[in-house]
Amino acid sequence: MEHFAIWVAAFLTMGIISFLYKDNAWYKLSEAIFVGISAGYWFVTLFWDNIYGKFWVGRGDDAMLYIGAFLGLLMLMRLVPKVGWISRWPLAFIVGATAGFYLINYFSSNVMRQVEDTIMPLLGTDYSATTYDMIGNIVIAVGTFSGLVYFFFSKEHKGVFGGTAKVGIFFLMITFGASFGYTVMSRMSLLIGRLDFLFGDWLGMIK
């Protein structure tokens, strides 16, 4: 069984990689198997973990679970066209609850804490900043300010305002470049992982 499993994994990996040569039946088969298995895996996991594992097993201890299950059933009403409108109720609950949850979290963690950290005293809060820290603080403050100016479209980008916006573009470009570099690194890691499987785990060619 172990031999069969590793050959299937290798067959499907090479099937996906074969797309680099050209679109072909092997690739399509591998892709279809992946999509089908993923959907099945999610269904089984969520069924046994939630509907059975959490709701059915824990229903005696927590009456709130019945409310969740009821809302879940209402969501399924979408499958019946005549009463499909009922599914908007649980959807409204999800949208409202999530919006409220995110509003506070994002405002606190990603706005207030980051704004606070952008405007730092040049010499540090306890006068211990090194030259490197000072340069870093200035770069972050200038980059944030000029980046915000670039996205201010109520005033024409001319003169000092336009110059500041241009500085903002440079900072944005550097940011996108860094993100792109990291993305390339991540994608290469995925490729490294698969090739390590093919040459190492499967063929045993790596010492």
């Binding site: 996991t45 973990d49 994002y106 606190s108 860094a178 990291y182 290469m188 890691s189 995925l190």
Partner: protein, 334 residues
């Protein structure tokens, strides 16, 4: 011979080659290849020269096909597996602070480890998980594993099983339920973290094997985040580090470090400067640095050579692509 026949022939040859290699592995006579230092350097020089040739051809107006680029990337990733070269790894401040964060934990401290990734991200995150567990078990830290991604806890089990085979750790005779626990997966994304802030047990009534929460000595007395000494999140996206910072760190004051895929790392770096995260391991590079800090050589370190080679090839083809672009543009103007 037409193109179709050639393709079939190539696939047949590859299949036979793979079958022989696999048979060799199973039979025991295939123990792997390792280039000597001289051969490794020769290969590197040959690749560099071939890239110069491609650059020259591009300057002459002869453009290469995209399949050549794919081939070069594949070669640059694969060949370093067999090379006897090593790469210097420097510790970055964010990895240093993460290490210091766990190094100051006294033995017996409870570490919550959230596995929020699945097998596709394993090449980057699995080495981090293994190094982290190795450090925890070597230093008598108690590990509680959870996952907001369905396959996360399975990845944790794979890492734990591997680490428990280490001689030094096996000698400690660590017990499941006492020294480490895997509470499994729970759906609900950031709302799970929110509920854990008030009651762990409500989100994880049993562990991944179905053992009731109260029957697990390690977690029996853990009510919420106030009973956790350190949090470590391995994340490949949503839900992941951002959600842990927003809820567990900012609302409940959990001290936390994170290991991220390279794609996600830039999104999380601002949390270090603001003190919301103790440190970050960013991508494979972060994994390699952490392995160096913890004194182990794992796949993070081994894969870095492939990573660096692939980057060099990408940079080379960016240059070649730009040369082709500007040359083409100049031609059009003429």
């Amino acid at each position: 011979m037409n193109a179709r026949m050639k393709e079939i022939l190539v696939v047949a040859v590859l299949t036979v080659f793979c079958a022989i290699m696999y048979w060799g592995k199973v039979d025991g006579w295939m123990t792997g290849f390792q280039f000597s230092f001289g051969l490794s350097m020769t290969v590197v020089i040959l690749i560099a020269v071939s890239l110069l040739v491609i650059l020259y051809l591009t300057l002459r107006g002869k453009l290469i096909g995209r399949r050549v680029v794919f081939l070069y990337v594949g070669i640059s990733v694969t060949l370093p597996f067999f090379m006897s070269l090593s790469q210097e790894i420097k510790i970055s401040p964010e990895v240093q602070t993460l290490y210091e964060g766990i190094a100051e934990l006294p033995p017996g401290s409870v570490v919550l480890t959230a596995f929020d990734y699945d097998p596709p991200s394993a090449p980057e995150l699995q080495p981090m998980a293994e190094s982290f567990f190795r450090y925890c078990f070597n230093n008598d830290l108690k590990v509680v594993v959870i996952g907001l991604w369905p396959q996360g806890p399975q990845q944790a089990n794979i890492a734990i099983e591997k680490i428990l085979l280490d001689e030094a750790i096996a000698a400690k005779n660590l017990q499941y339920g006492i020294d480490y626990v895997n509470l499994g997966f729970q759906t609900g994304n950031e709302f799970v973290i929110q509920r854990m802030g008030s009651d762990f047990k409500s989100m994880f009534p049993t562990d991944y094997t179905g053992t009731p929460y109260n029957d697990l000595p390690l977690v029996r007395n853990i009510k919420n985040f106030s009973n956790i000494d350190y949090g470590f999140n391995l994340s490949a996206g949503y839900p992941g580090t951002v959600e842990w910072v927003q809820v567990a760190v900012d609302r409940y004051g959990l001290k936390m470090g994170a290991g991220n895929t390279a794609v996600q790392a830039p999104q999380c770096y601002p949390y270090i400067r603001s003190g919301q995260l103790v440190g970050i391991l960013g991508g494979m590079n972060g994994a390699a640095e952490f392995e160096l800090m913890t004194g182990t050589v794992g796949k993070g370190t081994k894969f870095m050579l492939s990573q660096s080679f692939a980057h060099m090839i990408v940079i080379a083809f960016i240059i070649i692509g730009n040369v082709a672009y500007f040359r083409g543009g100049r031609k059009q103007k003429l």
